[in-house]
């Protein structure tokens, strides 16, 4: 049975190398067919030597990395003594600082724009009277009565267009009035 997650292989060697790779990752011995294949295939033998036996250039990958104690100490000092070692308190203080800033801003805004009559610190500029748009006086009934006299098909199309257009026109007027106010 084929695993749907298996990569697509272009040749038998790729399939064998996949077997070797899986065996390494799952810490299990090589399947017999892979062992037999390695014995007769130099390419797969090279692959197995590299990754199973840690030979050739792959050997360097497994060596211990450079470790500089002084550098580690510097990182430790900055991380633990830099005030980030107590995450809960740090998080709480960050939140408190944010809320304090928001509170101060709100209080300042209140003080500057005191809404009580006659006491604003910043005087609002007098606003010109906003022009009001008269509400549309469209006699829909009269227009519909005219349409009644035309042919059925034409009447239907015109009727729909009128209703739709009027509704849109009213929306635009209402929006404009609000915007001007």
């Amino acid at each position: 049975m084929t695993d749907p997650n298996e990569p697509v292989f272009t040749n038998a060697c790729e399939a064998m190398q996949w077997e070797i790779s899986q065996a390494l990752d799952e810490r299990r011995p090589l399947p017999e067919n892979a062992s037999l294949h390695i014995a007769s295939c130099p390419e797969c033998a090279h692959f197995a030597r590299l990754w199973r036996d840690g030979g050739g250039p792959a050997a360097a990958l497994g060596r211990e990395p450079v470790f500089d104690p002084a550098l580690c100490q510097r990182v430790l000092d900055r991380t633990l003594r830099g005030g980030v070692s107590a995450p809960r308190i740090a998080t709480l203080s960050t939140h408190l600082t944010r809320w304090a800033a928001v509170g101060a801003f709100a209080a300042l805004s209140w003080w500057l724009l005191d809404p009580r009559e006659g006491s604003p610190r910043v005087r609002r500029a007098p606003r010109p009277e906003a022009p009001r748009l008269a509400s549309p006086s469209i006699s829909l009934d009269r227009q519909l009565a005219r349409i009644e006299q035309r042919g059925d098909r034409e009447k239907e199309v015109l009727r729909n267009a009128m209703i739709d257009g009027t509704a849109r026109f009213r929306d635009v007027l209402a929006w404009s009035s609000e915007a001007l106010e």
Partner: protein, 195 residues
């Protein structure tokens, strides 16, 4: 390597992982000694991982510092189901990606391990340097997820489940990433070696 040795290594890794989880729990509760112990334990591998991808020693140091600072901030979010090593490598990957987005490094790696030479015995230093060079080549040659998967497998000896968790991929994808990494490197080294 025999199967017995393999299982001993796996057992040792499992013990380390559970110790890490306990230390992380203490760190969460504000225990600085636990934090220090975890940082000391994971610093060498994490710094080497970052150094493999950084272009200069100071960049690797800054990034390592940033990663541990992020770990410190996010320690409350750590879940012991994932090995600590896998978790911090996940954070390191994000930090490295952020650094690359901020400024693509232009400096040539010349003195990546400056200041280290006098501290290590010559032989150890040579081996470590060859490891650093080899990993540098791996990260240059392979797509990042493949190289990181291989690092976590070879250097951290993490199980597949932890590698998948660190990379945010499925178990099957982690297997494929490792296979492709090994395959590409084997072909690369084969073509480079004199026949």
């Amino acid at each position: 390597m025999t199967r017995a040795a393999d299982s001993r290594i796996a057992q040792a890794r499992a013990d380390e992982a559970s110790e890490d989880a306990l230390l992380a729990q203490s760190w969460r509760q504000g225990d600085q000694r636990a934090a220090e112990c975890l940082i000391r334990r994971h610093f060498p591998a994490l710094h080497a991982f970052i150094a493999s991808r950084a272009t200069a020693a100071h960049e690797a140091e800054d990034l390592t510092q940033e990663v541990f600072a992020a770990v410190s901030r996010q320690i409350a979010m750590y879940r012991p189901e994932v090995p600590f090593a896998a978790w911090i490598h996940g954070i390191a990957r994000n930090k490295i990606a952020d650094a690359w987005r901020r400024h693509r490094p232009t400096e040539v790696l010349e003195a990546r391990h400056e200041g280290i030479d006098e501290r290590s015995p010559a032989q150890l230093h040579e081996a470590a340097e060859s490891a650093a060079t080899a990993w540098k080549e791996v990260f240059a040659k392979l797509p990042e997820p493949q190289a990181t998967a291989l690092w976590l497998r070879v250097q951290e000896e993490l199980p597949l489940e932890a590698i998948a968790a660190a990379l945010g991929v499925t178990l099957a994808n982690a297997k494929v990433l490792l296979f492709r990494a090994r395959q590409t490197l084997a072909n690369h080294w084969k073509s480079r070696s004199p026949s």
